[in-house]
């Protein structure tokens, strides 16, 4: 037997002894149970987190028009809305008039923290457009085109105003008085039967007679210009009383 083997055998025996002696110790009397644990102190309730809602009505506006922001919060001590609104009550509404599209954020702060909500107001950009307003001149032009301002007619070789001629001039004068920003030309015309020199004078007399009556009816004389066309510009071509009657007229045009 070698010397090492004896050493390990002895080590083994020693350890066995130790193990046996340990087993003997557990067989002692059990200790008394420990006292019951005290009731745990209730944990402190954490403060609630605030909530907030924010809405905009209407949510799209034109420039320079107001919209209303409405919010309500819970558990908030303060509410701040950006975009120039600032500190506000915890709920309420405010009118705003943003110049461009804006997203408003309302922040509610409380012990429980903070919460936020947003609402967007879209500002509709108007196309820069020409303001279309008919001028007096255009209104009168249209009225003439549509036959609302009528020519007046005369008897052969006459420049007297008949009752129906006067009635027509009265209707025309209403237009001329209402729409004042226009110069009116009163043209005198003749049929082809007379001679040219006499007709140029007769056309002038017809234009003057019509102009005088319009002045009497309150149309400013400075707006009324009389001109004779004699037989230069017949309204209808042709001969015969039907054509001639249409050509013996005072006709209105605009400068």
């Amino acid at each position: 037997m070698k010397r090492s083997t004896i050493f390990y055998l002895g080590l083994f025996m020693l350890s066995m002894l130790l193990v046996l002696s340990a087993g003997c110790a557990k067989k002692v009397e059990p200790p008394p149970p420990p006292p019951p644990a005290p009731e745990p102190a209730p944990e402190p309730v954490p403060p609630a987190r605030p909530t907030i809602t924010l809405s905009a009505s209407p949510d799209s506006i034109k420039k320079d028009v107001e919209a209303t922001l409405t919010w309500s919060s819970t558990d908030a001590d303060s509410v701040v809305i950006n975009g120039g609104v600032g500190n506000v009550a915890t709920s309420g509404s405010v009118k705003v008039s943003p110049v461009e599209s804006t997203t408003y954020t309302a922040v509610a702060r409380g012990e429980g923290g903070e919460a936020s909500a947003t609402a967007r107001i879209t500002v509709i950009k108007e196309q820069p457009k020409v303001v279309v307003k008919e001028t007096d001149l255009e209104i009168l032009q249209k009225a003439m085109r549509d036959g609302l301002i009528k020519p007046v007619f005369f008897d052969y070789d006459k420049s007297d105003l008949s009752e129906s001629t006067k009635a027509t001039l009265e209707e025309n004068a209403k237009w001329f008085r209402k729409y004042q920003d226009a110069q009116i030309i009163v043209e005198g015309h003749c049929d082809e039967r007379g001679t040219e020199e006499y007709n140029l004078a007769l056309g002038d007399r017809r234009a003057q007679a019509s102009r005088d009556y319009l002045i009497e009816l309150g149309v400013s004389s400075s707006r009324l210009e009389a001109v004779s066309y004699g037989e230069e510009r017949p309204f209808v071509q042709g001969t015969g009383e039907e054509a001639w009657a249409k050509n013996r007229r005072a006709h209105f045009s605009l400068k």
Binding site: D157, A201, Q208, V227
Partner: protein, 447 residues
């Protein structure tokens, strides 16, 4: 050498009119006196040496123009060329006098001559011979550098013939001009043409309506009524022929029918001013100063014409109803009516000898105007146009033997010329619408 031929003296026909018309009776037309008229043969001019193309084309124009001028002159009885001797005449040596005295011809005078032209020069030799006395009345040699002037030479010679054979009673009208108003599109401008309608040229350019031209007595200026396209006012213009125009400012809506006084210092015209209220006859100096209303009166007064002495003005007024011819002194006094007739009158023109006033008249129950002549002293009336179409805007020729007017017998308004008795009517415009002819006066100024 001037020939005073007794046969042509009775042809100064205007002096005969009153005697021919039965007293107190309105005749239908002026009747030409019918004493033996001067018989004139107008032979075709011949090539002088060679019948080259330039000579032939000059001859073609010259022969037609000369014949037209002498026929229209209304002094001559021109026998048909078919009776003429066949032998061409170039020089006086070619005349066989007996051949021109056969019964079918029996002419008093013979006009003939020769032309030679090349590319640069045209030479016209023109003769007038008295067949009875076998003497030369006229022998003229004209040299022109523009072949287009053959027409002009024919006019010159025609006027010479008229002057000689009328014993100086007329200088002829072959070289006269007529102003008129021509519509093209919407523009009515003033044009000028030869008395026979040739060489028409536009002489106003304002794009508006231009009417009623009248010459100054020296023919250097004309005056007219104008409404430029850009304006609503009628105004009066005085324009140098082919030169600048100036405006006579009239305060009012209407100004029309200007006429130069015979001395050229004043114009008479019609205008409607804030004071006159309707058309009145005014006079003013030609620079527009000294404007004066002669007819401050309710109603239309227009179309003034001066008497040849400048002492009276005839005009149109409707103060008695329809427009009629009235006469007043040039200061507005001594007003009287020319003719006591109804209907409508316009456009009077006083004759160069002062004896007659020409105007257009639409007689009662007539549907159109015709040209009439009234003797100023007696109020006797002569109708000069009739039948188809109207006759308006009549105007005397400078020798008082012819009349131009605007007629519609061809459908549209055109310019006509005729003898002062209404005969020998000739249309001288054809295209467009042509109005208001004004015959010029005797003067050397217009060329």
């Amino acid at each position: 050498m001037k020939i005073l031929n007794w046969k042509i003296l009775p042809l100064l026909f205007l002096f005969q009119l009153a005697g021919i018309m039965a007293q107190g009776q309105r005749p239908d037309a002026v009747i030409f006196p019918k004493p033996t008229p001067t018989r004139l043969a107008v032979a075709d001019f011949s090539p002088r040496t060679s019948a080259n193309p330039e000579t032939l084309s000059s001859l073609e124009v010259f022969n037609k123009v000369l014949m037209d001028d002498l026929q229209f002159a209304a002094f001559f009885d021109i026998p048909s060329r078919s009776f003429y001797p066949l032998k061409p005449l170039r020089t006086p040596a070619d005349i066989v006098y007996e051949n021109w005295q056969v019964p079918t011809l029996d002419v008093d005078f013979l006009a003939f001559g020769a032309i030679q032209a090349d590319a640069t020069t045209t030479v016209v030799e023109a003769y007038l011979y008295d067949i009875k006395t076998r003497r030369q009345v006229l022998g003229k040699r004209y040299t022109v550098t523009d072949p287009a002037l053959s027409r002009r030479v024919a006019h010159e010679f025609a006027d010479q013939v008229v002057y000689e054979l009328s014993a100086g009673a007329s200088k002829g009208v072959a070289n006269t001009k007529i102003l008129f108003s021509k519509l093209r599109g919407t523009e009515k401008e003033i044009w000028m043409m030869d008395y026979d309608g040739s060489n028409a040229e536009r002489i106003t350019f304002n794009g508006g309506i231009n009417k009623f031209p009248e010459w100054s007595s020296d023919n250097k200026y004309f005056t007219y009524t104008s409404k430029p396209d850009t304006s609503n006012h009628w105004s009066l213009k005085i324009q140098e022929v082919n030169g600048e125009s100036k405006t006579i400012e009239v305060n009012g809506s209407y100004a029309s029918s200007p006429a130069f006084s015979p001395d050229g210092q004043k114009i008479a015209f019609s205008a409607s001013t804030p004071d006159s209220r309707d058309a009145d006859v005014f006079i003013a100096n030609v620079d527009g100063s000294g404007m004066r209303n002669l007819t401050l009166h309710q109603g239309i007064d227009t179309s003034p014409t001066w008497s040849p002495t400048g002492t009276q003005i005839a005009f149109i007024s409707d103060r008695s109803g329809g427009p009629q011819v009235w006469i007043m002194d040039a200061d507005g006094s001594n007003l009287r009516r020319l003719v006591e007739e109804g209907g409508h009158c316009d456009s009077p023109d006083w004759s160069p000898n002062g004896r007659f006033i020409l105007y257009s008249w639409q007689a009662p129950r007539q549907w159109k105007h015709d040209v009439y002549l009234a003797e100023v002293a007696t109020g006797k009336l002569y109708q000069l146009t009739r039948d188809f179409g109207a006759g308006e805007n009549p105007h005397w020729s400078p020798d008082g033997r012819h009349i131009t007017f605007q007629g519609t017998r061809s459908g549209t308004k055109q310019i006509f010329i005729m003898n002062a008795d209404g005969k020998h009517l000739k249309q001288i415009t054809a295209y467009g619408i042509n109005e208001s002819p004004s015959w010029n006066n005797y003067s050397e100024a217009i060329n």
